[in-house]
């Protein structure tokens, strides 16, 4: 039997498609190193006529980009840490501890996962306002500290590991939290990495929560800041190199995360969406 090799045409088609998906990002980076007139007259060219880092300099002078970046980092770190801890705690309880009300809790969780994010814009603002944490770091962070999908992932993982280890630890007299912390959690590393990836990407790219949680410029994060810059709420003018420089810098952390954990991300996304 002859082994079949894919035809050259297939490679041609795939390369063309890959170019369509990659080219916009190359344009993004190239334009951020152009002057404004150059960006307008040679939009396609990937080589700036005069190479300039002016757009990046302006990120520091014209807009409070460092503040936005700092806020995104702070929020993302807290949210990721919170989700890793609280999601695994709750996921473990739902998978392993037989307590009254467990079925109800689980049903509630599934119901909550079905509520779409955009429907929560007004409700979230109302409660943040009511609690007096509008325009504060707790307002930015606390509502995001737990996510139902993460609990779901952790629960599924804990159900997949054998009970024997925990039974041994229980016989040795460890209480539930000790056992969870020093026996179960170390075994859960693959699932925890998944939660870290999803939380990092989710909170770094999150926009609408930050729109309704604060309006203090000091508390603006990257997504909100760049969105306001793009919609000219921060002064008129096309300023494409500046805007694209901002877009490029805000993409770098998730791009690195993606390239490092590529394989796991692609497997997780398939699994998570399948539900």
């Amino acid at each position: 039997m002859t082994s079949r090799r894919p035809s050259p045409w297939l490679y041609a088609v795939l390369l063309l498609l890959a170019a369509v998906y990659i080219f916009p990002f190359l344009v993004n980076v190239a334009t951020s190193f152009k002057t404004e007139p150059d960006a307008a007259s040679n939009p396609i060219s990937l080589i700036p006529q005069t190479f300039t880092t002016a757009a990046y300099d302006r990120l520091f002078t014209e807009v409070p980009f460092p503040t936005w970046f700092k806020n995104s980092v702070v929020v993302t770190l807290f949210v990721t840490a919170g989700r890793v801890f609280f999601d695994s705690l709750a996921g473990y309880a739902l998978a392993r501890i037989h307590f009254r009300g467990r079925a109800l809790m689980f049903a509630l969780l599934v119901a909550i996962m079905a509520v779409p994010n955009v429907v929560l814009l007004i409700p979230k603002f109302l409660v943040i306002n009511q609690l007096g944490i509008y325009n504060s770091y707790p307002g930015l962070v606390v509502p995001l500290l737990v996510d139902a999908a993460g609990i779901f992932i952790m629960k599924n993982f804990f159900e997949s590991i054998p009970v024997a280890v925990e039974e041994q630890a229980r016989i040795d007299g460890a209480n539930t939290f000790r056992m969870f912390w020093s026996v179960v959690l170390p075994m859960a590393r693959p699932a925890l990495v998944t939660i870290v990836i999803l939380s990092f990407q989710g909170s770094w790219n999150e926009l609408n929560h930050f729109i309704v949680a604060a309006n203090d410029p000091e508390l603006t994060n990257l997504t909100k800041g760049v969105a306001q810059l793009a919609s000219n709420q921060l002064g008129q003018g096309t300023k494409y190199p500046l805007k694209l420089a901002a877009a490029a810098v805000m993409t770098i952390p998730v791009a690195i995360l993606f390239l490092v954990f590529q394989k796991r991300i692609m497997n997780t996304s398939a699994g998570a969406v399948k539900g």
Binding site: S3, L14, L17, A18, Y21, P24, F25, V27, A39, P43, F86, L89, A90, A93, H98, F99, R100, G101, R102, L108, A114, V115, P116, V118, V119, L120, L121, I122, P123, L126, V127, N129, Q130, V142, P143, V146, T176, F177, F180, Q201, N205, L207, N208, I211, L222, A227, A230, S231, T238, L244, A247, M250, T251, V254, A255, F258, M266, S269, V273, K274
Partner: protein
């Protein structure tokens, strides 16, 4: 230790473990939804707490204002519905077809550079909607990349994000068809039938392409996973029987992809009703309200116009649409006996 005390200990530990999650989800998800439900039937205008004594109950007035009566609010809601319906009608089939096509190509046996292609197609999915929208504003501006490419084939491209004409209207105008009175005289949700038939505006069309660009990679992964599960035997059997590659795909592969196809279609249906970030970043509903969506309108009515009751009511109507679509998905994917 006796059996019952173990159980008591387990119940205590169980609740302690889920408490942080339950409290946070209750305070920031369940409770706010109830509060917004109250706002949607109240006359609260954004001053003070909606739970204070001087906020009145107005029944279904806010809902009625949006759905009936020919008010500006009704017209805006009708326009937002029209825009989003076109967005759904274009994005869902296009993203599904693109995702399936990419998956089949990438899944080809013996393909070299598979990882590279998969990465290239998936990468747009991990970036933020804000960053991609900023890029899109540049690509589709009047002197942008898209128009430069159209210029190669002699087409003078529009300023996409500034052009409010519907693409169906534009196509009809090109062949000399103008608004017939029969269609302009009748209205639905405050919008004339002729306007319902406008098609997505050029600005909305650019958003449609953006959605296909960013979601096709995610759904491609679902199709690839499904294709991996099918295995090669069936392909081989078809080959032995002398079926052409199109016949094999159409009659062997596609039927086996049905469950995944259905999942992708319904996830697409649910997702496309929630478009917000792109609108907030790119057009704020313009030009001429042709990129207004219910999600954005709900935000705008509340936060910009201080019409909180109506904004909350729009959010719940949107919620109802999404719940119906979700239930439809559950029903269609139910375990068959």
């Amino acid at each position: 230790m006796s059996g019952s005390s173990i159980r008591r200990g387990q119940t205590r530990d169980g609740w302690l473990f889920v408490a942080p999650a339950v409290i946070l989800l209750a305070v920031f998800l369940a409770f706010p939804v109830l509060m917004a439900l109250w706002v949607s039937v109240s006359d609260w205008r954004g001053v003070g707490s909606p739970l204070s004594g001087d906020v009145g109950f107005v029944g279904a007035d806010n809902y009625a204002n949006i759905l009936t009566g020919g008010s500006l609010q009704q017209r805006d809601f009708g326009t937002a519905m029209r825009n989003n319906v076109y967005y759904v009608l274009f994005v869902v089939p296009l993203q599904t077809a693109a995702a399936l096509g990419l998956a089949v190509l990438v899944h080809t046996k013996g393909l070299r550079g598979r990882g590279f292609f998969r990465t290239a197609f998936y990468f747009p999915s991990v970036t933020s909607a804000v960053a991609i929208t900023v890029l899109w504003l540049f690509l589709f501006n009047s002197t942008g990349v898209v128009n430069a490419i159209l210029g190669w084939v002699g087409i003078d491209g529009p300023n996409w994000f500034g052009k409010a004409d519907g693409i169906f209207h534009s196509a009809l105008a090109a062949v000399g068809v103008d608004a017939p009175a029969a269609l302009t005289d009748h209205r639905m949700l405050g919008v004339s039938w002729w306007e319902w038939l406008a098609g997505p505006s050029f600005a909305m069309s650019a958003f449609i392409l953006l959605a296909v660009f960013t979601t096709s990679g995610t759904f491609m992964l679902l199709f690839i996973a499904a294709l991996n599960n099918i295995g090669d035997e069936i392909e081989e059997a078809g080959r032995v029987d002398g079926a052409s590659s199109w016949q094999r795909f159409r009659h062997l592969t596609l039927p086996m992809l049905r469950p995944t196809l259905f999942t992708v279609l319904t996830l697409g249906l649910i997702g496309t009703w929630q478009v917000f970030d792109q609108i907030y970043t790119g057009t704020q509903g313009g030009p001429a309200k042709t990129t207004l969506t219910p999600a954005y309108l709900s935000f705008q009515s509340s936060f910009n116009s201080q019409r909180w009751g109506e904004g909350a009511a729009i959010a719940f109507i949107l919620f109802a649409i999404i719940v119906v679509l979700t239930l439809f998905q559950r029903w269609a994917l139910r375990e068959k006996p």
